[in-house]
């Protein structure tokens, strides 16, 4: 949240150690085009900011973002305009990988390397490198945390509730699948799930009714810490604290709740927007024909999946600097 | 009391008022006469603050008055009954009467007081049967007119302007209206009265001002002593014989319409009659006696029991079938029921017979325009520009456009509901001739009019209705106005 009195450090990743092989040294000038959905959500906003901040670090990068939009048709146009502008590399976080596939393919065919961020294009010909979070892994991490907690308490036949993000996104479906699969290893299953829409208000609305539907809950996984603010408000309003709640993504706010130790929110599983910084760096390297200096290979790998980590009271200190403001 | 000098009002493309003078004295009924489109309504709208004049001065009781809005006019003490009904359908009678000057304390409406006051005004107007709580949208046109009058009376006005208040009223109601007007003038209130019915002018008017083409052609003529022919020639600029066209000498042709046992609960019952080709049949009756509803039932626009046969064959229910089988209805409320105000005169005229101008759905616009222009010319629609939106025509010319719709060829039966409402004398004579001419060409006509002389003069045969039943049927030539009035008022069959 933006109005924390002790203004949090920029949500951009902290300056990492310089790359070993001098990859940070200025090289050939490159223009990096960037297209993402509209920033009406803390996580997406952090993506856009991180990308821009990463680009600013390099004197040899000209950053060219286009209008973020939630309309596929417009995002296609936006990417088309970047292709027409003949940028050196493209970083695309598509609204929907399937739907942007065609235009990404066009870019690749026009000789512009595409770094696919987060939501994947189905066609491997459409992009040079994919970097993103592990949605399935996120569900798995949340599932394990819940499973372990409930086993510790010795609950049998627990009521487990899941509040999803936007139901029509493949990432939502991956998260839910990972969650269910992990729970299965403990012999548990999800009792009820509902989708909110990634906003505080919808999170609040869905949680309000779900709490009515289930008078006693053992565990609740909320896919997204942005909507989590609303979910937590609903929980407090209903005066409920009998269950364990797990968040998703890793916002600063969620981390602070975890840190306080008095909240039902005991953990969150990361899906870090720092991936955008990495994506811009990769695009630069690819455009300049460099590789990743810690790897043996001379070229940037074809895909990079970030691990989803579980933040709890124990390790939250370490993650606080990475938390994004929702 | 009121003096208007050199009033000019320009509309896009039309100089509606071109230097009009008007003098109204306290306590008189000042009549405003003129053909359709002469500028009468425009003049009174200038007075009511609806339009701002481009030139000219208005003085009221010696002081310069320039109503910039209806509120100003009301504050000056002008109350207006507009030609086109100006009521809010969703509100009750009482709320309509006191709209804008509600009985209220600190913004809170005192509804009981409003109802009481409304009942008083309505009683004064002779209509205690109109409930103050009734929703205005559900009232018949005549009752709406009464509510409009009640609203004007509810203001403590020093000048009351009435734009064709009698057009929607029947004979007895008009008498009622006159009684009120006399009461008002006795109290020193001045009344500006517009009507196309010259006999009314003679009865109620004190002085007459005549407008023609936006100019005053006569000021302050004595209403009772000026011969009708002079008034008419002032209005029209020519001599019009205010007579009905001669009835056809030929015997009527075969039966076109046959109605058997037509009944609709609460409106009319057991109505049977027939109309032959070349015959004009008139329906006479009081307002609310069910005449309009009979026309609508025949036309298939209203549910009713009984049979309707056209040319010996039953008509399938529904207006579409009625029109396809050759009927046409000119309804009584032209704005609400007949006109597309934003569309051109041409589009309005051809609306009922579009397929006749089209091939495979494609409209032949040349033919359409030519036909519309022919009819506009025939009925003397002014201005004669048929591409102009109907909204910009005066009331009477709008009425002519409605009639013109069914004069496009191919009709076998015309149902005319108050066809001359708001039409000036000159045009009226022409309309009569047109209607008679249509009949002579073999079309059957069923006519409703609240003006008994019109029904008698134009029809071949008359049906007299009372409370939804036919109480008399007979040759129009042998009836006279008094007998018909007796029948419809007292229920005495001749």
């Amino acid at each position: 949240t933006s109005n924390e009195p002790a203004a949090a450090p920029s949500s951009a990743a902290p300056a990492p150690a310089p790359a070993a092989s001098g990859n940070d040294q200025p090289g050939e000038k490159v223009v990096i085009g960037f297209s993402a959905p509209a920033a009406d959500h803390g996580w997406i906003a952090a993506i856009a900011k991180n990308a821009e901040a990463a680009a600013k670090r390099y004197s040899d990068v000209e950053f060219k973002p286009v209008e973020p939009t939630n309309d596929i048709n417009q995002q296609i146009s936006a990417v088309e305009s970047l292709i027409a502008a003949k940028v050196s590399a493209l970083v695309i976080l598509p609204n929907d990988g399937q739907q942007l596939n065609q235009v990404a393919l066009q870019a690749t065919q026009a000789g512009i390397p595409v770094v696919n961020l987060d939501r994947v294009f189905p066609d491997k010909l459409a992009y040079r490198t994919w970097i993103g979070g592990d949605n399935y892994g996120m569900g798995v991490a949340a599932g394990h945390f819940v499973g372990r907690k409930l086993k510790e308490k010795g609950v049998s036949d627990p009521v487990i509730v899941e509040i999803q993000g936007i139901a029509t996104l493949p990432l939502t479906q991956d998260r839910s699948k990972g969650f269910a699969d992990a729970l299965k290893t403990y012999g548990f299953s999800v009792t009820a799930k509902q989708d909110a829409k990634f906003t505080v208000e919808t999170g609040n609305q869905v949680a309000t009714s779900l709490l009515q539907a289930h008078k006693k809950i053992d565990a609740l996984w909320n896919h997204d810490d942005d909507q989590g603010v609303g979910v937590l408000a609903a929980i407090k309003e209903a005066g409920r604290n009998e269950f364990v709640m797990v968040g998703g993504a890793g916002s600063l706010n969620a981390m602070k709740e975890i840190q306080s130790g008095s909240s039902v929110l005991q953990a969150t599983v990361t899906y870090s927007p720092t991936m955008a910084s990495s994506a811009v760096r990769l695009a630069r390297l690819i455009a300049q024909g460099k590789g990743m200096s810690d790897l043996v290979e001379n070229q940037v790998p074809q895909s990079i999946t970030l691990a989803s980590e579980t933040i709890t009271k124990e390790n939250v200190e370490k993650y606080l600097p990475l938390g994004f403001e929702s | 009391m009121l003096v208007m000098r050199g009033i000019v009002k320009q509309f896009p493309g039309v100089r509606a008022l071109d230097g009009v003078d008007l003098d109204v004295r306290a306590g008189e009924v000042h009549c405003l006469l003129g053909q359709n489109g002469a500028g009468k309504s425009t003049l009174i709208k200038v007075l009511a603050g609806v339009h701002q004049p481009d030139e000219g001065t208005i003085t009221f009781n010696g002081a310069e008055a320039r109503p910039g809005s209806p509120i100003d006019a009301i504050r000056l003490g002008f109350a207006t009954i507009y030609q086109e009904l100006d009521l809010v359908d969703g509100l009750s009678v009482a709320e309509n009467i006191f709209l804008g000057h509600e009985h209220a304390r600190l913004g809170f409406v005192d509804r009981a007081a409003g109802r009481r006051a409304a009942r008083e005004v309505l009683e004064r107007l002779g209509h205690p049967e109109i409930r103050p709580n009734a929703e205005v949208g559900r009232l018949p046109p005549a009752a709406k007119q009464v509510v409009s009058m009640a609203r004007a009376l509810s203001h403590d006005a020093r000048l009351i302007i009435m734009d064709e208040p009698s057009a929607a009223l029947a004979h007895d109601e008009v008498a009622n209206l006159f009684r009120i007007i006399r009461e008002l003038t006795a109290q020193g209130v001045a009344v500006v009265y517009i009507s196309h019915r010259l006999e009314e002018i003679r009865e109620i008017g004190d002085r007459v001002t005549v407008l023609k083409d936006g100019r005053t052609v006569a000021v302050g003529l004595p209403a009772r002593d000026t011969p009708t022919s002079r008034v008419v020639s002032l209005m029209t600029g020519r001599d019009v014989e205010y007579v009905f066209p001669p009835r056809s000498s030929r015997p009527p042709g075969e039966e076109v319409l046959r109605v058997e046992g037509l009944s609709a609960p609460g409106a009319f019952s057991g109505v049977s009659f027939s109309v032959r080709a070349g015959e004009i049949v008139g329906l006479a009756g009081l307002v609310g006696s069910g005449r309009s509803e009979i026309l609508e039932a025949v036309y298939g626009a209203r549910r009713a029991a009984g049979r309707v046969l056209l040319g010996g064959r039953p008509v399938r229910r529904g207006v579409t079938h009625a029109v396809r089988s050759g009927m046409g209805l000119a309804p009584e409320e032209r704005k609400a029921q007949a006109l597309l105000l934003d569309q051109s005169v041409t589009a309005n005229i051809t609306l009922g017979s579009l397929p006749g101008f089209a091939r495979f759905g494609w409209i032949d616009r040349g033919r359409e325009r030519a036909e519309a222009a022919r009819l506009a010319d025939l009925l003397d629609i002014r201005p004669p520009d048929t591409e102009r939106p109907v909204r910009t025509l005066s009331g009477g010319n709008q009425q002519k456009a409605v009639l013109a719709r069914w004069l496009v060829g191919g009709r076998r039966l015309l149902l005319l509901d108050e066809p001359t409402r708001g039409v000036d004398v000159g045009a009226r004579a022409e309309l009569y001739a047109v209607i008679r001419d249509l009949a002579d060409r073999g079309i059957a006509v069923l006519l409703v009019s609240s003006e008994v002389p019109e029904v008698l003069g134009l029809s071949d045969r008359v049906l007299v209705l009372r409370e939804g039943t036919v109480i008399h049927e007979g040759d129009a030539a042998v009836l006279d106005e008094h007998r018909v009035l007796d029948m419809i008022m007292e229920g005495r069959a001749a």
Binding site: T1, S2, N3, Q212, A213 | Y82, V88, G90, L99, E467
Partner: protein, 345 residues
């Protein structure tokens, strides 16, 4: 002829018979139609309640569930009251959700929050009313079509809210400004304060609409603006005030949403405009203006809220919810229609 002629009265009397019969059902004229309409809505509500009782006997009819339905309805309910005025007045306000979002963001900036909860609430109300006033000015004096003017406001208010908040969710700082949040957490007689606020707005709205000149004139302005003007009503000023009133309601709603979510955010109130308008119309108000009731709108809204509540209680997924919601809307309105007199074809 100072006495009305007997035939006229008689004729009216005869035809009056059926009307009188009808009147025993109806209270009077317009309001009668209103109640008849509401009957259909009550039937629809009753059906939904019955479904709730059958499918989730344990969870549905509990006091806490009903309270939570009312809490959910409160925010948009307040907005619906304003929307009812605007729509009866012949307009439409698409900007309600965005204006509420803007008000919530403005009221939760650090600067505003530093003055405490009262200033925050006043700020929300002023921002809402101000935005409404701008709508009203554009529509009444700039003669913009309401649809376009308020659509422009929707877009611009969301943009401004995003700018102000830097696209972040702004937390209400507790405990300093906890008074705002306590609207949602403090209960009197087991009912959160914000439900009382909602009830108060509804009652005030009803009184203004039905018992004041402002309300009567709203019907006139919507039903026949030309007639209203001729009757000496300042139609433009009135129109402007209607939009300001709608904005005021958005401001109040912003306070409630801050209380419920403990945040101000540019994403609040997404698509409220459609929900509010739908509730108003299901409640029997005509989009063409001149007719309608507050009661109907609120019943319409409760139907919507109850549908969602039932779905979640029964664990239906969103897709099925959407399909069912579409069908239920149609059935509810058809039910309502059955209760109205058939017009001639």
């Amino acid at each position: 002829m100072s006495e009305p002629t007997p035939p006229v009265r008689q004729a009216a009397g005869a035809r009056g018979a059926q009307a009188d019969a009808a009147r025993t059902n109806l209270l009077s004229g317009l309001r009668g139609v209103g109640e008849l309409r509401h009957l259909g809505l009550f039937v629809a509500l009753a059906l939904l309640v019955a479904v709730g009782l059958v499918t989730r006997p344990d969870a549905f009819a509990t006091a806490s569930n009903l309270v939570s339905v009312l809490s959910l309805a409160a925010t948009i309910g307040v907005i619906t009251v304003g929307a009812t005025f605007v729509i009866i007045g012949g307009g439409i306000d698409l900007s309600v959700g965005a204006v509420m979002a803007l008000a919530s963001v403005w009221a939760t900036t650090l600067a505003t929050q530093s003055y405490g909860p009262v200033v925050m609430a006043v700020c929300a109300v002023l921002v809402g009313t101000g935005a409404g006033l701008v709508n009203g000015l554009l529509i009444a004096y700039g003669r913009l079509v309401p649809f376009i003017a308020t659509l422009a406001m929707l877009v611009a208010a969301r943009g401004l809210a995003q700018r102000m908040s830097d696209r972040k969710t702004q937390l209400v700082q507790q405990p300093d400004n906890g008074a705002i949040v306590s609207l949602s957490t403090t209960r009197v007689l087991g009912i959160p304060l914000l439900v009382y606020v909602f009830a108060l707005v509804v009652v005030l709205g009803w009184v203004v609409l039905n018992r004041t000149t402002f309300g009567r004139r709203t019907y006139a302005v919507g039903g026949n603006p030309e007639a209203a003007r001729l009757a000496g009503i300042d139609v433009r000023r009135h129109t402007m005030l209607l939009y300001a009133l709608s904005g005021l309601c958005c401001g109040i709603a912003a306070i409630l949403i801050m209380a419920r979510t403990t945040t101000g955010s540019s994403t609040h109130g997404d698509l409220y405009e459609l929900d509010a308008i739908a509730a108003v119309i299901i409640g029997g108000t005509l989009l063409t203006g001149g007719r309608g009731t507050i009661m109907g709108s609120i019943l319409g809204l409760l139907i919507f809220t109850l549908i969602t509540n039932l779905f979640i209680l029964n664990g239906l997924n969103t897709s099925d919810q959407l399909i069912a919601k579409g069908l239920i809307i149609v059935v509810a309105v058809l039910l309502q229609r059955r209760n109205l007199k058939e017009r001639a074809p």
